[in-house]
C-alpha cells in the first residue's frame, strides 16, 4: 500500500465498513465489499490521485462491487437478483456515518448474541483486530474465536438483529451491555486471567480507544465514568509491576511512576460525570479510583471518602466483590480488625469462597493482627485458587514473610 492509502485505511476502514453493513444489510458482504473497494483504490489512486472525499468514494465503490457480486451470483440464485436491484435502487448519503459506527457497536454488543461472542465480534469489526490477534489475547484457539464470530453473524442475519441505535427506552439496558463488553476487554488486558503476563497492553489500549469512540458518539455519564475508570487504572500501570515482573500492590506502588496526564484526564471526566447527577456504577468506581490517584500515599488517602463511595456503590449494585473492596478500605480507615470482620461475614454467607482475593485479604488482615497461623492458612488457600503467575509469586512471598524470625 502507498502510505496515503495506509493512513486512509487506518482512519476510514471501520467507518466505511459500518456504513456498508447498513447499506448492504450483511456483515460478510460488507467486509468483502470493503476489501474490494480498497483493492480498487490501490490501483486507481496511484494514477488519478486520492479523491476529495475518500470515505464517500470507498463506500460508493464498495457498494457497486457488492451489487456486481450479487448480480453475478444471481445467475444461480434468482433471489439475489431482487436483492441486488433493491440495493442498486436505494439511495445513500454521507450524513449518517457517525450513527453507523454507533449502530455497529450496539449490534456487536447486542444482548441476544452469546456473551462469549460479543467481545470477539466487537474487537474484529470495530477495532479491526484479526481473529489470530483476538485468539492470542484470550488464549483461545483461533478456530474457536472464528467459530464464535461466524455464529454471531449467523444469528444477526437469521434472527434479524437490527442495525440500529436503540430507542431512548431501551438505551440504559443496551448501553450496559456495550459498557460491559468494553470493560471486559479492558480487564482482560489489565489483569490477564491466566498466564505469565500481568497486563496485555494491546487490549487495554483497544478498550480505551473504544471508550473514547463511544464517548464521542454518545456522551452519557456512564460512558464518561467507564472511560475515566479505565484511564485511572491505566495510569498506574508503570507502577504495578516491579522490574522483575512482580505484582506491586497499590499501597506499595511508587506513585511518581503514575501517568499524570492520564490521571488529569480521568479526574476531569469523573467530575463531569458526577455533576450530571446521573452517574452509575462506573462513575462511582472511577470516583474511587480518582481519590486514590489524587493521594500522595496510601496513608494520606481519604479513606473515609472511599468507604462512603463504596457505600453508595453497594446500594446501586449489591455485590460481594464490592463488599470485599469496601472491607479493605474500611480496614484502612478503622484498622485490620474491622476489615477482617467484614471479610469473614462475606465468607460465612458462603460467598467468594473460591475468590483468591477474598482469602488473600483475610490473610493480610490476620498478618497485621499478628494472627500468623490463620494468615498462613488464608494465603495458602489464596495461592491454591489463583492461576496468574505474578499473583502466585506475590502470595508465595507473603507466605514466606510469615515465618517467625
Amino acid at each position: 500500500m502507498t502510505p496515503p492509502i495506509e493512513t486512509i485505511y487506518r482512519r476510514e476502514s471501520r467507518r466505511v465498513l459500518a456504513t456498508l453493513i447498513r447499506l448492504l444489510g450483511d456483515f460478510d458482504l460488507a467486509e468483502e465489499a470493503l476489501h474490494e473497494a480498497f483493492l480498487v483504490a490501490m490501483q486507481r489512486w496511484e494514477h488519478d490521485g486520492v479523491p476529495s472525499n475518500p470515505r464517500a468514494w470507498l463506500v460508493s465503490t464498495g457498494r457497486f462491487k457488492a451489487i456486481d457480486r450479487l448480480r453475478r451470483q444471481a445467475r444461480f440464485t434468482p433471489l439475489l437478483q431482487a436483492q441486488a436491484d433493491a440495493l442498486a435502487a436505494a439511495d445513500w448519503d454521507d450524513e449518517d456515518v457517525e450513527d453507523d459506527r454507533l449502530r455497529l457497536i450496539f449490534t456487536c454488543c447486542h444482548p441476544a448474541l452469546a456473551a462469549d461472542a460479543q467481545v470477539p465480534l466487537t474487537l474484529r469489526e470495530i477495532c479491526d483486530l484479526t481473529t489470530e490477534e483476538i485468539a492470542r489475547a484470550f488464549l483461545v484457539p483461533p478456530a474457536t474465536i472464528a467459530q464464535r464470530i461466524v455464529r454471531a453473524k449467523g444469528k444477526i442475519r437469521e434472527a434479524k438483529i437490527p442495525y440500529q441505535v436503540p430507542s431512548l427506552a431501551e438505551l440504559p439496558e443496551r448501553l450496559d451491555s456495550v459498557l460491559r463488553v468494553i470493560y471486559l476487554v479492558f480487564n482482560e488486558g489489565y489483569s490477564a486471567s491466566m498466564g505469565a503476563d500481568l497486563t496485555r497492553d494491546d487490549l487495554t489500549r483497544e478498550a480505551i480507544r473504544l471508550g473514547r469512540l463511544l464517548l464521542e458518539l454518545l456522551p452519557e455519564p456512564e460512558v464518561m465514568g467507564l472511560l475515566a475508570l479505565m484511564l485511572l487504572h491505566e495510569s498506574r500501570r508503570p507502577a504495578r509491576t516491579s522490574a522483575g515482573g512482580e505484582l506491586v500492590l497499590l499501597d506499595e506502588q511508587d506513585r511518581a511512576l503514575w501517568d499524570a496526564s492520564l490521571i488529569a484526564e480521568g479526574c476531569a471526566l469523573v467530575e463531569q460525570a458526577l455533576t450530571t447527577r446521573r452517574f452509575g456504577p462506573y462513575g462511582l468506581q472511577a470516583a474511587i479510583a480518582a481519590v486514590h490517584a489524587e493521594a500522595p500515599s496510601a496513608e494520606h488517602t481519604d479513606w473515609p471518602q472511599i468507604v462512603g463511595l463504596y457505600d453508595v456503590l453497594l446500594r446501586t449494585v449489591p455485590s460481594p466483590v464490592i463488599e470485599l473492596n469496601r472491607a479493605v478500605a474500611l480496614a484502612m480507615r478503622d484498622g485490620p480488625l474491622a476489615g477482617l470482620q467484614q471479610v469473614e461475614a462475606i465468607l460465612a454467607r458462603g460467598e467468594l469462597l473460591d475468590y483468591h482475593l477474598a482469602h488473600s485479604a483475610r490473610g493480610e488482615f490476620c498478618r497485621q493482627l499478628g494472627r500468623l497461623d490463620e494468615a498462613r492458612l488464608a494465603y495458602e488457600k489464596a495461592l491454591s485458587l489463583t492461576r496468574q503467575t505474578p499473583e502466585k509469586h506475590f502470595l508465595a512471598r507473603r507466605l514466606a514473610s510469615l515465618t517467625p524470625i
Binding site: 441476544a112 434479524k160 437490527p162
Partner: protein, 114 residues
C-alpha cells in the same frame, strides 16, 4: 419477519405464583398485540399431562403418552407474531404476562427453500 414466541413455565406454579397473571390479563395483552397488527396466532395450552407424542419409524406410527421430553419447565402457550426485526419481537415477547413467572423463547421462523 415471523417470530414464534414459546412460553415455558413450571406448570405447578404458573397459575399460583404471587406474580402469576390471571386469564383476563393474558387475554387483554393478546388483544393489544392483535390491535398493533403484529398478531398471527396465539394460544394457551392444556397441561403436559394431556400431551401425546407420535413418531413415524420405518413406516410405523408409534404413539406414546406425555411430552417429547421431560423438562423442568413446560411449554404453556405460544404467540406467532409478525415483527420488523428481533428488537421488535423481543418487545412483544417481553410484554407477555406469563414472562413474569416463566421464560419466553423467541425463534425466527425459517423460510422453506423451495
Amino acid at each position: 419477519m415471523k417470530y414464534l414466541c414459546l412460553i415455558y413455565s413450571n406448570e405447578q406454579v404458573l397459575h399460583t405464583a404471587p406474580d402469576s397473571p390471571a386469564d383476563p390479563e393474558c387475554f387483554a395483552y393478546a388483544q393489544s398485540v392483535q390491535k398493533s397488527g403484529r398478531m398471527l396466532a396465539a394460544e394457551p395450552l392444556e397441561s403436559v399431562s394431556t400431551a401425546t407424542t407420535v413418531r413415524m419409524r420405518n413406516g410405523k406410527l408409534s404413539i406414546t403418552d406425555g411430552p417429547f421430553a421431560e423438562t423442568k419447565e413446560q411449554l404453556a402457550g405460544f404467540y406467532l407474531i409478525e415483527a420488523r426485526d428481533l428488537n421488535e419481537a423481543l418487545q412483544v415477547a417481553g410484554g407477555i404476562p406469563a414472562a413474569r413467572v416463566g421464560s419466553v423463547e423467541v425463534r425466527p421462523v425459517r423460510q422453506l427453500n423451495l
